[in-house]
Amino acid sequence: MTDTAARTTAPAPPTAEAARAPIKGKIGALIALVVLACLFLLPVYIMVMAGLKPPAQADATHMWELPKEIDFSGMREAWARLSPNFRNSLVIVLPATVVASIIGALNGFVFAKLPFRGANVLFAVMLLGMFIPYQVILIPMVRFLQSIGLYGNLSGLILVHIIYGIPITTLIFRNYYAGIPGEIMEAGQVDGVSNFKIFTHLMVPLSLPGFVVCGIFQVTNIWNDFLFGITVVPNPTEQPITVALNNLSGNFSVQWNTVMSGALLAAIPTALIYILLGRFFVRGMTAGSVK
């Protein structure tokens, strides 16, 4: 008691002036934050506004203007061109995310809760797979997919995303299960329950947040992928939306309001996930930095 009293009174006499100085600084910092936030949102403003402008206004010279009228012709045109690719991306993302997450949960459980000698070395060997530049495996990957008849179609792309998703999903679940108290494991082991049952009966029911974090991370990664999409699928109607958007923007006969509407379409799913589930999104993101 006396200690806290001493502490609160010691650097005591906070004169009105001294108290006001940090407040002034804080207001200045707040203004700086508002300015920076506006700067950060400028490209988003450009994208959304250009997407909603009539074609005549959606050119370079009127770039910063607000739309004179809201016009959905660019949006309609972009949807007409990109909707098959939007669907492709959905078809790729959902199974690849589910399967990779299940594999990651099993692996992560073993690495976090069933330790054995050399586990961390094996884990590091596995983890390197998520950092490699995928350019280094493209040639054998394409040959492999050709040899099993999956080159050029969505199943091949799904398979590739599952395989190269294993390291990151394992990492996310390893970190997630490491945060679950060891007593739960010990209780199961004392009762002589098999590790498989411990996983399915004790761990899985506790894993919902882990699956949400992992799922969000995988959905975002796979939706935003470009390199696998452009190498595995040469046929434009089978390509994911990122590849189609890049083709659209490289096509000089397409109006800017259409291109920006296309960018908006490609951005909406991951942006929505981010806005609605931001807390989990950040957890998945920081999981990517290993510890």
Binding site: K26, F40, F116, L122, A271, Y274
Partner: protein
Amino acid sequence: MSTTTTAAPPPVAKPKPPRRGVFQAEFWRRHGFAFAVLVPSLIVIAIFVYGFIGYSIRVSMSQWQGLLPNLAPRDPLYQTYVDLFNNPRWQADLRNVFVFTFFFLALSVLVGLMLALLVHNALAGAPIFRTIFLFPYSLSFIVTGVVWRWIFTPSAGANLLLQAVGIDPGPKWITDPRVVGDVSTALEAIIPGGDFIQVKLGIPLALLPIVIAASWQLAGFAMATLLAALGTLPDELKEAASLDGAGTWRYHWHIVLPWLRPAIVVILVILGHVSLKSFDLVYAMSGQGPGFATDVPGIFVFEQTFRALRFNLGAAASMIMFLLVAAVIVPYLYRSLVREERS
């Protein structure tokens, strides 16, 4: 590479003496599940990561150019690598990726640090600001590239704003072919055989808009990582500092910054390897650029392999990319995982 592919779970590699026969059953009871779960994943990783890298090494030493696979070795085996490093486009790519990485890391870390400190100490609205600054991270590099390409088109976007404040004509941004601060002539005089450098070794101006776009997208990652570290800064440190009469600047310099150093290292490693791998953003925003001013190894590999069908050259370039990334990532993984296990 061979040691890593054969590194199956170690317990099996050492069969125990027969008198501990009980061990067998005991081993499977304890480790059977771990074994059944991990072995399939490890085999898949061994093949699709390490085996495939091995195959790419082989392709890089082969004569394979054109549609039909030809794995006959070149003589000498490393000849494609010699060709690669004598290729002016590849020389430009290496220059570009190093210049890009340097500026991108500097800008992202500085902006991230500034944002983190501002948001951490914000009078109000911290969650909203954090959400806004991290938002670009959720987007695809292609979306970012398409939007920023328009902003940095000389006849549009950024230059319209500059005109409004009297700067006309504005910079040529992604269409600027100039390379400033060329040191190649100076180097040729010093390094024996330095005349094999066929590009200007300086800063390609067209890269700077891409640095800005990339930092826009990833400074939020730096901010979020630093905010997490700031959240664990003990209050006692701040109190001790204020008791010592340390001002805001001294407090940040002597206490906050050292506290953030591990987080900054993580950011440098993660963003550094992203930068060395960069492909999508540059591909969508400017492609090769004027005179390969914005070309990067990622684009080189893709185009040499899948457009020009020079498979051996593309594979050799991808190996150099891999080695660059491995030089950053392997020490990082070693420090955070392997050394931790030993201690």
